[in-house]
């Protein structure tokens, strides 16, 4: 049986994991809202981000923060180029081909990362290696607190960005109606590319912050699929919904792993399928059925 301490420990671990999923999902949802493209390669952006931060921190002699900034920026550039060079050309093709394209990107990134950095597991030194002891036998490590804090901070920053800055409002306009935004003189193409860059940067930040928890190897990109599952549980159309879904998935996961060890690691998908059976649009939906 679970003791109270264990329950709190599992819940806190789950909360941190859920926040990590939420960070990744934030990028998904931003890109989806701007372009209606679901980027199945988002987990791979996260993986590339972790590797890039690792590479920069080795090049800079182990200092974390400059490497963190450089790594995120470089993945942002990758995201920008992906949109400007490739995704822009295939607007209007069937959604099936677009999904397949992003999945293919995922495979390409994973292979490239494996070729460049090797297939073995690496670890990244971060400043978050301490622990906070709350009570007897109950402690929370700094890296998990960092993830929760980063999620909160990024959400706040993004909220301010989208509601207060000219650029952010223009992005909202472009995401609601591209054509109308274009007529109003908003450079829609560039905005969409910048949205990709922001999404990729958030993913890279998530990758670097998650590195102490998951270690770094080429398969951590699959967390992206779990984040996607979380976002779907909550409802893809809205950022609060997606975050809520990710938190839910993150908290359910450790308990499900404990009680049903047979489905260890896949409980997120079970939850997602169950939610989709009951409410195909997620818990908070934003799609409207067109009346004929």
């Amino acid at each position: 049986m679970l003791q109270v301490n264990d329950i709190i420990h599992l819940a806190v671990t789950g909360l941190a994991q859920g926040c990590a999923y939420g960070l990744i999902a934030l990028g998904f949802v931003l890109i989806y809202k701007a372009t209606e493209v679901v980027n199945f390669a988002h987990g791979e952006f996260m993986m590339l981000g972790a590797f890039a931060v690792l590479a920069f921190s080795e090049a800079l002699g182990g200092s974390f923060w400059p490497a963190f900034v450089l790594g995120c920026l470089s993945i942002g550039v990758v995201g920008y180029l992906i949109d400007a060079q490739i995704m822009r050309r295939i607007i209007g093709q069937s959604s099936a081909s677009i999904f397949i394209l992003t999945v293919a990107f995922g495979f390409i990134f994973r292979s490239l990362a494996g070729m460049i950095w090797g297939w073995q597991t690496l670890s990244l030194n971060t400043p978050f290696d301490g622990k906070v002891v709350i009570a007897e036998g109950l402690s929370i490590s700094h890296d998990r607190i960092a993830i929760v804090a980063a999620t909160a901070i990024l959400c706040g920053v993004l909220y301010l960005f989208f509601s207060r800055t000219r650029f952010g409002v223009a992005m909202q306009a472009a995401s609601q109606n591209q054509l109308a935004a274009f007529y109003m003189g908003i450079p829609v193409k560039r905005l969409v590319s910048v949205t990709w860059a922001i999404g990729a940067m958030i993913a890279a930040a998530a990758g670097a912050l998650l590195a102490p928890v998951t270690q770094i190897d080429t398969t951590i990109g699959f967390l992206g699929i779990k984040a996607l599952a979380g976002a779907i549980v909550g409802g893809f159309g809205s950022i609060p919904g997606a975050l809520l879904g990710c938190l839910l998935i993150g908290i359910i996961e450790p308990f499900a792993d404990f009680y049903f060890p047979a489905i260890k690691g896949v409980s997120a998908y079970v939850v997602m399928l169950l939610v989709l059976f009951v409410k195909p649009e997620g818990l908070i939906s934003q799609t409207f059925q067109k009346k004929v």
Binding site: A96, F99, A104, F107, R110, I263, Y269, P280
Partner: protein, 358 residues
């Protein structure tokens, strides 16, 4: 340019209207039937595997190419087909009965998935099928008592009506038989109201619904047919692999199926066959590349998925119609020679289609 002059009503329903098509298809069929005469066992096995993948490709093509429903989970149906069939025949069920049972089971599971998927659209469906694949893979690995888990499951030897089929050519003919059945069946399907309603749903759910097509039921049917055909491919694949393990039917296998139909050309049965040919030639190309490329790239483990990904990207960006589209253009060039213009196949300008309002 050849002008079709129809003199009988039957001319309207022939699969192959033009003389050139009849000659080409006839030649290919003859070559396939005569293949065991001049091919060695190794190449015959490769050709058989290609036929199996063609069946799986047609299965996915009906769902994704013709009904417009993306499924990243079709390797799961291959797995269900392969495992169910192997388990049945290892318990002494005859081949013919086992095939019927397996295809039915696969179809029913497909319809159940389709039932739950009929309300979803777009990427919800893609991710749900992906999750389904991951669950099936986990399930096959965990249920060790029946599936042998990750240790693997040995497929019993092939027996048809009590006669053991040991030689490769016998197995090859079995594959060929099923390919003919599936190709004819699929081609016929798209001349029936059911098949036509598949196409209607792909092109516009809204207009299909307005015309009285029950979109949900069409999706369920399409999932069922597609899963049944893919399950059949799984049955035949089991005999080619002769040793099953859950990892074989992972996400990479699904990507392979996707690559087949995207590169072959979405929305045509011929495309699935082109895709299958490409898939079976790829390993040869990869082993060639491994020798040619510098060892830093060529000897890497990730070369195969990298190439798969690159091919998909190149085709989707530059030739969305796939090999089939390219083939149509070449044929059009020769048929209308010298009237082919550069603008004959210029892509229409297309805009973002929103899914938020359906």
């Amino acid at each position: 340019m050849q002008v079709l002059f129809k003199t009988r009503y039957e001319d309207d329903i022939h699969f192959l209207a033009k003389t050139g098509e009849k000659i080409r298809v006839g030649l290919v069929v003859l070559l396939l039937i005569a293949a065991p005469l001049f091919l060695q066992n190794y190449y015959l096995a490769e050709l058989g595997l290609m036929l199996v993948y063609a069946i799986a490709g047609i299965g996915l093509m009906i769902l994704t190419g013709h009904t417009g429903q993306v499924s990243f989970g079709h390797a799961a149906f291959l797995a269900i087909g392969a495992y169910c069939h192997s388990i049945l025949i290892s318990h002494g069920v005859p081949f013919s009965v086992s095939v019927v049972l397996t295809v039915t089971l696969s179809g029913v599971i497909g319809m159940l998935l389709g039932r739950s998927a009929s309300k979803m659209h777009g990427f919800y469906l893609a991710i749900a099928t992906l999750a389904f694949l991951i669950l099936v893979e986990t399930f096959l690995g965990e249920w060790e008592a029946v599936t042998g888990g990750h240790a693997g499951f040995k497929v019993p030897a092939l027996k048809l009506f009590g006669i053991p089929l040991k030689a490769m050519w016998q197995q090859y003919y079995l594959d060929l038989f099923f390919v003919f059945v599936v190709v004819l069946g699929a081609a016929n399907l798209f001349r029936t109201p059911t098949g036509r309603s598949f196409l209607a749903v792909r092109d516009s759910e809204l207009s299909a619904r307005s015309l009285g097509v029950s979109v949900e039921w069409v999706k369920i049917q399409s999932f069922g047919v597609s899963a049944a055909i893919t399950g059949l491919a799984g049955v035949l694949l089991a005999h080619h692999l002769s040793y099953l393990s859950p990892e074989v039917f992972g996400v990479l296998e699904s990507l392979k199926l996707m690559l087949m139909i995207v590169v072959g050309g979405l929305g045509s049965i011929l495309g699935a066959i082109f895709g299958a040919i490409l898939i079976s030639l790829l390993p040869i190309a990869i082993s060639f590349l491994r020798d040619v490329l510098p060892p830093a790239v060529g000897q890497q483990a990730g070369l195969e998925p990298l190439l798969f990904g690159l091919i998909i990207v190149v085709f989707i960006v530059f030739e969305p119609q796939g090999i089939y589209g390219r083939w149509m253009k070449i044929r059009f060039f020769f048929e209308t020679f010298p009237y082919y213009r550069k603008s004959s196949f210029v892509r229409q300008k297309s805009y973002l289609k929103t899914e938020r309002m359906r």
